[in-house]
């Protein structure tokens, strides 16, 4: 026998255990209906895997474990699932929770089940999974899924296994009777747990008031190969508390906020050990448990082996309840249990005791008096807390301070309330404070999450804004660039710049331009030098020639590329490009001519070269113009189909441009003639050509315009829609005006001049409003009729109908509000609007139903 340590505090309430140990464990009758809650333990509720109407066999899985902390639920008897619905469950709150209701068929037919022939053949993980799927959860009090505790060996060094047989709470004898009758099962279960956790020693803690059970247990231990110590501890409440029992048996104190496994100890209840044994050796899942039915209101207090889901009523009847004597029905012990109101509440895996108490046995708590600071609560507290301080903090909601005084180490044993001479419900205060703190923490977590989401959203919106701004700026820059380029290009013709020349083309062009600039520079340098009569002319001339060569090469390359591009894709944009080219060529020509003229006037040298350039350019311009004309013609030929608005527009543009060019050319011609330049002749020819082109363009446009006039007809419909929209807007504007006027009227004194005026105004507005509305309705009706003819999409109608309905509810709400604040006044107008809204909604609904 091991050494016994002691824990602080504790009380000695009347035991009341003798009554229920007189008769052996009897099986409880199978009720007509079993109500099996999906959540019978801490953690996530199981997920049902049967449907109402399914026939289930005893031991069949009816709900599967989901999540880490969860266990499966099995059918306690054979029968039919009739319902999966919320039913009252054993909980302090008296709330309902989802349950599977099974109507038993009375046959109690088992599903095929066999245990494991040799569990040591299985890997530890597999065996733990097996136990999890047999629905084993702690049968002591909290009902923690057992498989979690059995996994503790994975990440903790477990050196001690403590088996809890203390059963310290008064009245309860379920574990006592289990040990008396089935000690070998308990020892078998301990062997399995030993295999899983491999502790270095095993201790069974049992209170010294269970002498019979101790004797049987010692007998059973002798037959076991394991070295099991039975430690008999003095009877004191709450020695059965996990941490208290560990202190008693090992002298080790589990630190605050830690679990026993952190100090190398795992604690299991004897009932759990027996259940594990049954599951492993016989394949029987946890579908029944031993329940102590006791109290002065039952004639035959005893222990019953009840199926999970059996209503308490069945057990009480089996124990011969005297209804007239019953004052309180308590589930659990008198210290930590709770009163239940409904005797249809089912037995669950943690129900160890039902007390049917008489009024004498458990009188209602006397009214609480003021705390006299006697300090008794501190003396009995097994967790060594300061109950008095905690009480003050909980009462004044100083939760932070309560937390600092280790409120969460309170095991809610009720010893302090038991000894309190002022009858203060201390435990209730602690439970309340714990709840509040937990809730506050949960709220804080949620707030933190909300803040993160809010900030993420803000950041996203901000980013979107920045992106949008960037895109806008980019577009603006591009536009500005285009504008600049356009301005930079001589404005001899208003043709738009080539929109999308190939990159290659662009490069070539730039190269050509650079070469030209170089050439020009060289030329000016040469001229300057010549004018100044300098000596190193030869060098400069050389440079000039080189530059000229390079420029010519670049220009040639560019032209070639351009030509190939033009032949490759003689479509819309190319036309434009060609046009641009022609224009550029012409401009160059003009410039060259100008330069020539200047040169001639000044009688400078280099005239010859200029002249050749001009001629070259002329040739080039003619070629470009030719190419453009060709392309245009072919384009026109390919797009003769009528009714193409863009084409019409293009033609119009063309004509206008041609006109502008013509004008300019004419002007230039006039200037040329005046100055008597030799290019005048050529210019004249050009002008003639241009005017011909203009005329052609104009006639083409006119012809096109004529052919496309019918295409404007569909636009009319749009106009109609637009009309409806403007009408709608009008109506809403009218309405707003009306409202405002009404409001003004309300504010103005009744009977005064302004009021009369306002009234007149309102009347006028109302009539206007009505008119507008009528017009709108007419248009809308027409639209609807049109839509009906064409089969408008149902969705739009549905949406309209829903909106109308919403308008009705909104109007109704407004009326209600109005009625609340000031009856009589202004109700009529609101009611009118309600009626109108209702009519509208009805109409829409009707239309909708027609389609549906």
């Amino acid at each position: 026998m091991g050494k016994i340590f002691a824990f602080h505090g504790g009380i000695h309430p009347p035991e009341n255990k003798k009554q229920s140990t007189r008769s052996p464990i009897r099986p409880a009758p199978v009720p007509a209906q079993l109500t099996v809650p999906l959540q019978q333990h801490i953690g996530a509720p199981a997920k049902p895997c049967v449907q109402p109407g399914h026939h289930v066999l005893k031991g069949q899985v009816i709900a599967l474990a989901q999540g880490k902390i969860s266990t499966s639920v099995h059918a306690p008897s054979s029968g039919t699932v009739i319902e999966i619905a919320p039913k009252p469950v054993p909980h302090v709150s008296g709330l309902s929770a989802p349950c599977i209701v099974i109507e038993t068929d009375g046959k109690d037919t088992w599903i095929d089940h066999t245990g494991l022939p040799d569990y040591t053949q299985l890997k530890q993980n597999e065996l733990i999974d097996y136990i999890r799927h047999h629905g084993i959860s702690g049968m002591g009090g909290a009902g923690f899924p057992t498989d979690i505790k059995l996994h503790l060996g994975d990440d903790h060094i477990v050196n001690t296994l403590v088996i809890n047989a203390a059963e310290c709470e008064p009245y309860i004898t379920a574990d006592d009777m289990l040990l008396r009758e089935r000690a070998e099962q308990v020892i078998g279960g301990i062997e399995i747990i030993n295999y899983l956790l491999r502790p270095s020693h095993i201790l069974i803690g049992i209170e010294d008031n269970k002498s019979h059970a101790i004797r049987v247990l010692e007998e059973a231990v002798r037959g076991s190969s394991l070295n099991i110590d039975i430690v008999v501890v003095p009877t004191k409440y709450p020695s059965g508390g996990e941490k208290q029992l560990i202190k008693l048996l090992t002298g080790v104190e589990v630190p605050s906020g830690k679990i026993p496994a952190d100090v190398g100890i795992v604690c299991q209840n004897v009932g759990t050990a027996a259940a594990i044994h049954q599951a492993v050796t016989q394949g029987i899942p946890l579908i029944s448990r031993i329940v102590t039915v006791t109290g002065d209101a039952v004639r035959k207090p005893q222990n019953l082996e009840a199926l999970i889901g059996t209503p308490f009523k069945t057990l009480l009847t089996a124990a011969d309840l005297q209804e007239n004597k019953l004052s309180r029905l308590v589930m659990g012990g008198p210290m930590m249990g709770f009163t239940i109101e409904d005797d249809q509440i089912p037995v669950i895996k943690t129900s160890n005791c039902i007390i049917a108490a008489t009024l004498d046995e458990m009188p209602p708590a006397p009214p609480a008096l003021a705390c006299i600071r006697c300090g008794l609560c501190e003396q009995v507290c097994p967790a060594e807390l300061l109950p008095q301080q905690l009480h003050w903090f909980a009462k004044s909601r100083e939760l932070e301070k309560a937390k600092h005084h280790n409120l969460f180490d309170c095991i809610e044993c009720g010893a302090c309330s038991y000894v309190c001479p002022s009858n203060i419900p201390l435990v209730q205060y602690y439970r309340y404070a714990k709840n509040e703190i937990r809730e506050e923490e949960a709220e804080q977590r949620k707030a933190e999450q909300a803040r993160q989401r809010f900030e993420a959203r803000q950041a996203r919106l901000e980013q979107e804004k920045v992106d949008k701004e960037n895109r806008r700026r980019e577009r603006a820059e591009q536009a500005a660039k285009a504008q600049k380029a356009k301005q930079a290009a001589p404005a001899s013709e208003s043709t738009p710049k080539a929109t999308a020349p190939g990159d290659e083309l662009k490069k070539l062009k730039t190269a050509a331009a650079i070469a030209r600039t170089k050439l020009k520079k060289a030329q000016t340098a040469l001229e300057k030098a010549k004018a100044e009569g300098m000596n190193d002319l030869s060098e400069l001339t050389e440079q000039h020639q080189l530059a000229e060569k390079a420029a010519n090469e670049a220009q040639q390359a560019f032209e070639q590329a351009e030509k190939s591009a033009a032949t490759a894709a003689p479509s819309g944009p190319d036309l434009k490009q060609l046009k641009t080219q022609a224009a550029v060529a012409r401009t160059k020509l003009k410039k060259a001519q100008q330069a020539l003229k200047n040169a001639e006037e000044k009688g400078q040298d280099g005239i010859e070269s200029l002249r050749t350039t001009v001629q070259e350019l002329e040739a080039k311009a003619a070629v470009a113009q030719q190419a453009f004309d060709d392309a245009e013609q072919s384009n026109e030929a390919s797009h003769t189909s009528p009714g193409e608005n863009p084409k019409l527009n293009g033609l119009k543009e063309d004509a206008e441009k041609a006109k502008a060019t013509l004008d300019k050319a004419e002007k230039a011609l006039a200037a040329a003639i005046e100055s008597g330049s030799p290019a005048a002749e050529k210019m004249k020819a050009g002008v003639e050509k241009l005017s011909a082109k203009y005329q052609a363009a104009q006639s083409a446009y006119e012809a096109e315009a004529k052919s496309t006039t019918p295409t404007t007809v569909p636009a009319k419909k749009e106009e109609a829609q637009l009309d409806a929209k403007t009408l709608k807007q009008n109506v809403s504007i009218m309405r707003t005006k009306l409202r405002k006027a009404e409001k003004a009227l309300g504010e103005a004194d009744a009977g005064s001049d302004t009021a009369v005026e306002l009234k007149a105004e309102i009347d006028r507005l109302t009539s206007l409003h009505n008119e507008a509305k009528l017009a709108l309705e007419a248009v809308e009706a027409k639209q609807q009729a049109d839509a009906a003819k064409q089969g408008i999409d149902l969705k739009q109608l549905k949406v309209d109908a829903a909106m109308a309905r919403a308008a009705v509810t909104k109007a109704e709400r407004a009326i209600k509000k109005q009625q609340e604040t000031e009856p009589e006044a202004e109700l009529t107008s609101l009611k009118e609007s309600l009626v109108a809204a209702q009519n509208h909604a009805e109409q829409l609904n009707k239309t909708l139903s027609q389609f549906e």
């Binding site: 709330l95 009214p367 609480a368 419900p425 209730q428 804080q444 909300a450 809010f454 829903a802 309905r805």
Partner: protein, 198 residues
């Protein structure tokens, strides 16, 4: 004379040394932003509902740090006001009813068969707790909803309900015990009355 000079020089030297240390610390350990704003923001419930008149909880936290009243947050209720009063060392005042009243916690539910898919509520939600797309049914992620109410108004078909969060076994909590303390004779009547009600 030299003693006085030494004293002055020593003090001057000390002043220079400490000045350098302080200057270094001011640069090196500079606190970004106003830390009190963060603390206030931590206390606020983060519903982002705007009932205080500011566009979100952080702007209100900033306003409080600049001297605005602490009683403009209906979702936080009295407990938030108390916490703020505690933090800022000011008098705790009752909630300003101008900004709304403290209500039980609610979250939004969309009646999904009535939703027309207008996305207006999605744009209104400050915590992105509504999922959906144009012309598609929307729904609320209940675990993310803060119950701020902002989605109800924009809905053109009124299909959003604010419903109280149902109590389950996991969210149920104990009530505060009714203090039955009878200190003086007139207390006893009140005590029994309260017990009767409870």
């Amino acid at each position: 004379m030299s003693a006085v000079l030494i004293a002055i020089l020593v003090l001057l030297g000390l002043a220079v040394v400490f000045g350098l240390i302080l200057g270094y610390a001011a640069v090196q350990f500079k606190v970004e932003g106003n830390p009190i704003v963060d603390q206030i923001d931590d206390i606020l419930p983060q519903t982002q509902c705007g009932q205080c008149g500011y566009p979100g909880c952080r702007p209100y936290a900033e306003a409080i740090s600049n001297g605005d009243a602490i009683n403009k947050c209906p979702p936080g209720g009295q407990s938030t006001i108390d916490a703020l009063a505690d933090l800022l060392d000011v008098e705790a005042v009752p909630l300003d009813s101008e900004h709304g009243e403290e209500q039980i916690k609610k979250i939004a539910y969309i009646r999904e068969d009535e939703c027309i898919g207008c996305t207006k509520c999605i744009q209104a939600c400050p915590v992105d707790a509504i999922v959906g797309a144009a012309k598609q049914m929307h729904t609320v992620i209940t675990s993310e909803c803060t119950g701020c109410d902002l989605c109800v108004e924009p809905c053109p078909v009124d299909c959003i309900d604010m419903l109280p969060i149902p109590t389950t076994l996991n969210t149920w909590k104990w009530e505060q015990p009714v203090p039955g303390v009878a200190l003086i004779a007139t207390d006893s009547g009140r005590g029994s009355e309260q017990r009767g009600a409870a």
